[in-house]
Subunit: 269 residues, 2 copies
Amino acid sequence: MGLAVRKFAKDCTVVGYGHRASTLDEAIEIGAIDEAKLSAAQAVEGADLVVLCTPVGTFESILHEIRPVLAPGVLVTDVGSTKRRIVANAESLLPAQASFVGSHPMAGSEKRGVSFAAANLFEGATCITTPTNRTDVGALEKIESFWRLLGMHVTRLSPEEHDRRLADISHLPHALAAALVTLQDEQSLPLAGKGFLDTTRVAGGNGGLWRDIFLENRDNLRDSVHRFQGHLERLMAHLEADDADAVKAWLDAAAARRRGVGVGPMKPD
Amino acid sequence: MGLAVRKFAKDCTVVGYGHRASTLDEAIEIGAIDEAKLSAAQAVEGADLVVLCTPVGTFESILHEIRPVLAPGVLVTDVGSTKRRIVANAESLLPAQASFVGSHPMAGSEKRGVSFAAANLFEGATCITTPTNRTDVGALEKIESFWRLLGMHVTRLSPEEHDRRLADISHLPHALAAALVTLQDEQSLPLAGKGFLDTTRVAGGNGGLWRDIFLENRDNLRDSVHRFQGHLERLMAHLEADDADAVKAWLDAAAARRRGVGVGPMKPD
């Protein structure tokens, strides 16, 4: 994000906060940040815009830390992959002169760290903003302009709808990919073709990050898993009944839906 | 395959069989075949090597059709994604002067048709050969040389082990991807990110082809699905118990395994 902001908003000064000096040094070296701070409170002092980019599990303590030093009129957003608790916490913890808008820029990769940074990460991808009835409309529009500046398409959803839909389209796929890798025995893995590698790529992602997402969105994920099992069991029932036409119809319907995804203007692929 | 053979085995004459004249015309036009036949029996007449590349469901009728006209000493192989029944059928249906070796070149794509043909499709990918105690060793070695000529790494498995391992590493991933697409509601699909698109790419594949694979390998697929559900349920149990450490350990183990796949010399990716 630092690289993107410095590319698309050249007048901004980007201050990076992190807990490892070596990471911050690297970030300065590649030009992702102008200044580095090892304290979140110091990093946000005098900022016009604060973007929380740490794992969601650390947001609450960071909000507590930064709240006393935020400048009047500051805009605060985040890039968390779950939204209900984050938005509720931010709205209750931040002082009245700060405006919070939840964001979920859906760009990233299973790769992690400064060395994988790219200024064009966000281009063409979708960002979901999650306003509530407490969200300031002016702040919402400014935050959405910020994401558009980085090249993103913006969609608005309530925090509740966000978490429900993301369980289906993002969190469940991760759980399935990870279970699919776990299942394999060592002699089968060398037989993995491109299909398996594609299907399981996300499973290489950071365990701590996904633990937080799964725990935050457990109720929705439980529901997604339950519905998923229903669909898989329908396929297996067609197979057990030796109903070739029903198996083909089920597969054809999935194939047609899949081929229709990713052709619109909102897909990063 | 025609393109690959004409590129890597320039002395061969490639005769293509298909049931649509327009497809065969296109194949001649792009240089994938030298000659075209609308009858399988005519296509194999005088051939040194016959490669069955139709959907597995049609193999039995094609074997019946070609068996009277095969030249003495002919090598016959196939590219079917399941092996037990195909190999047993070929061994019992083919005349004694023909040598059959089952093959599964694990290269391909969810895209289909002459326009997606590429001579380098097989390069660096794995081909599994499935000899039995009835397989002629000389024929096996010749068939393996053929796949190596196209750039493939060759691994031998029994037809039984092939079908069992492929259920885990290929057929189950397809079933999961298709069920995952089926689950989504229309408003969630525009939120699909790169992860979802990767995870579900294979689901865009041909329904008829996968129906045949699933029906042929139903017993193994049933077992794979059963074990898969066990792994997914273990994750959900950790989540329900609010056991953050167990969730992370489960995810970390999957991530470590996934990162270790595809780094060896046998992976096409």
